[in-house]
């Protein structure tokens, strides 16, 4: 019995004859830690997050959250445990930023409950932390890609999950907000959240994550502390590119040879 997101031997394919997207993947995200998933395009990183949120069902193996199999949780119960910031989240047309962030409270309110002062305070805090409060009253469709990304992150925070899944959350962000977002992820972890982060930038991954999991062709090929995982041999075989790894002041620095 232990808290955490736990995948055990998860395999999955999208069609009976298709190759496996995930093959025998086992992985644990404990409360309070940031686990990064890296790997080439098509390695199965996003699918991994979909298994945890039950948007995809494994054909074998199991995924449990705090010792309850995800298939036994109701949608609302699952939404109180896990928030996912998708890679290209759908932006609803016709809403103000505040209204979009407030949607994160839905799993706590039930279908017919109305938001209380406590819910409004949580929404305000989520917008303050992500610096989206300044455009709280603006229609969401007038925002830039990076601003929208922060709004979606704010909504995930307003959801107050136990585990936060982030799929390429730094995609549309400039350097400052990339760093800010990963800092928020770390702060959340420090206050007890488990964070599972899919990320392409290996250098940011090395700084933001306690552990890294390298996926290639649906399999876990390496796992461990960033400095033990980000090795030239591993990266060259996984990414099929020549890289140099140098020691930096805050962890390994990966530079691709062009």
């Amino acid at each position: 019995m232990s808290a955490g997101v736990r995948l055990a031997g998860v395999s999955l394919r999208f069609a009976p004859a298709a190759p496996r997207v995930l093959e025998d993947v086992s992985l644990i995200v404990a409360p309070g830690e940031v686990v990064g998933v890296v790997g080439p395009n098509g390695a199965g990183k996003s699918t991994l997050l979909r298994v945890v949120t039950r948007l995809a069902r494994p054909e074998s193996g199991a995924c449990a959250i705090d010792d309850v199999d995800v298939s036994r949780l109701s949608r609302a119960a699952l939404a109180r445990k896990v928030a996912l910031v998708a890679q290209e989240p759908e932006v609803p047309v016709g809403y103000r930023v505040r209204e979009v962030v407030a949607m994160g409270r839905a799993p706590h309110l039930g279908l017919f409950g109305s938001p209380r002062a406590g819910d409004e305070a949580i929404v305000e805090r989520a917008m303050a932390v992500t610096e989206t409060a300044a455009f709280a009253e603006r229609p969401i469709e007038t925002l830039s890609g990076g601003e929208r990304q922060r709004v979606v992150f704010a909504r995930a925070l307003a959801q107050e999950p136990r585990y936060l899944l982030l799929d390429e959350p730094t995609n549309h962000l400039d350097l400052r907000f990339q760093v800010e977002l990963l800092r928020h992820a770390r702060t959340q972890a420090a206050s007890g959240l488990g964070v599972l982060l899919v990320i392409h930038d290996l250098n940011l991954a090395a700084r933001a994550c306690d552990r890294l999991v390298v996926l290639d062709g649906g399999r876990v090929v390496a796992e461990g502390a960033p400095r033990d995982v980000l090795l030239p041999e591993t990266l060259e075989s996984v990414f099929r590119a020549d890289v140099d790894v140098m020691p930096g002041p805050t962890g390994p620095v990966v530079v691709a040879r062009v």
């Binding site: 949608r75 939404a79 998708a86 759908e90 609803p92 016709g94 103000r96 949607m103 305000e124």
Partner: protein, 340 residues
């Protein structure tokens, strides 16, 4: 601080409700004889109390008021159904006709009108019941055809709706041709008419539309979550398929009962929700009641035009809504194109 949304909701509701009330009084007052508003109010008071009415008051109570109220209920119901269909399909061009609901209801009602004399069962059930049964069949057929595993992808749903809708429209055309001498009268009803409104129709439609409005209103947050897409809504804890089916069922019932009393009146369910959304934005808790009020006002005004433009001849109100709604819709389309 979060006073803004609530106050704007109250303001939008209050101004829409008072505008509707004004439209109502004017629509009852105007006609072949002008009835002063104070006489209108007096007639309503006496009618409600069951007191004896003077001739002018009888015109108000027995003829004009049921007609205006029926127009309001039909318009409000179609706008409500439009908000639901547009919200569930996440398609601003969706309306009660998209998934064949109206065509199914029209077929059912025409079936009773044309074959009711020779098939007594149909006649005893009555047009509203058969219309609802047929539109339920269309929805079930469409859902059955569009279903993949347990999901209802929007594209398949819309395609299935178009196919089923044209099948039922073909069936209606066949019934019209077979009906021969009755065809003219049925066609006039099918084009949308409120000329023979009665209090019993008002009661029937109110008994369906008002509870439906309350029910959909209770689901307004679910409609908001659906705007995040099926997966986005699931991730925030919504049972997406169940919610969709319930909302579509309610919208179907509202559409079918509107069609069975007033024929097929186009554009209300398409234009009104669209205009309301442009004016006041989306959150459904705000949009739903405002769109319903606007739909009611719009159809009351359209019906007023229909009976006044070339009085004493009436034109079908469906023609008026198409003439007003069509250009408005084209303007909307162009506007959207310009924004891109």
């Amino acid at each position: 601080m979060p006073v803004g949304p609530r106050r704007s909701r109250a303001l939008a509701l209050a101004s829409s409700a008072s505008a509707l009330l004004a439209v109502l009084v004017v629509a009852v007052a105007v006609g072949s004889v002008w009835v002063a508003p104070d006489v209108v109010i007096g007639a309503v008071r006496k009618g409600l109390a069951g007191e004896a009415l003077r001739p002018l008051e009888t015109v108000v109570w027995q003829l004009r008021l049921p007609r205006v109220l029926l127009a309001g209920l039909v318009g409000g119901g179609l706008a409500l159904a439009g908000v639901v269909f547009q919200g569930v399909f996440r398609n601003p061009l969706a309306d009660p006709y998209l998934i064949g609901t109206a065509s199914g209801a029209g077929f059912g009602a025409v079936l009773v009108m044309s074959a009711g004399a020779s098939v007594p069962v149909l006649a005893s059930l009555g047009a509203p019941v058969v219309a609802f049964a047929c539109s339920l069949v269309t929805v079930l057929l469409v859902v059955f055809l569009a279903r993949v595993d347990s999901a209802l992808p929007t594209v398949r749903l819309v395609l299935a709706g178009v196919v089923i809708s044209s099948l039922f429209t073909a069936g209606t055309s066949f019934l019209l041709v077979a009906a021969r001498e009755q065809a003219g009268g049925i066609l006039a009803w099918l084009l949308g008419g409120l000329a023979f409104s009665t209090w019993s129709q008002v009661r029937l439609l109110a008994a369906v539309t008002l509870p439906a409005l309350a029910l959909v209103g209770a689901f307004s947050r679910a409609l908001d979550l659906l705007q995040l897409g099926e997966e986005g809504a699931s991730l925030l804890g919504l049972g997406v398929e169940r919610t969709k089916l319930l909302l579509l069922g309610v919208a179907t019932l509202v559409t079918a009962s509107a069609v069975s009393v007033a024929g097929i009146i186009g554009f209300v369910g398409l234009i009104v929700p669209h205009a309301a959304r442009l004016a006041i934005g989306r959150p459904h808790a705000r949009l739903l009641p405002v769109a319903a009020l606007w739909g009611a006002g719009f159809l009351i005004l359209a019906d007023l035009l229909a009976r006044q433009v070339i009085a004493p001849v009436e034109i079908p109100v469906g023609i008026v809504t198409a003439l007003v709604g069509g250009p408005f819709f084209l303007w909307l389309l162009r506007r959207r194109a310009d924004e891109r």
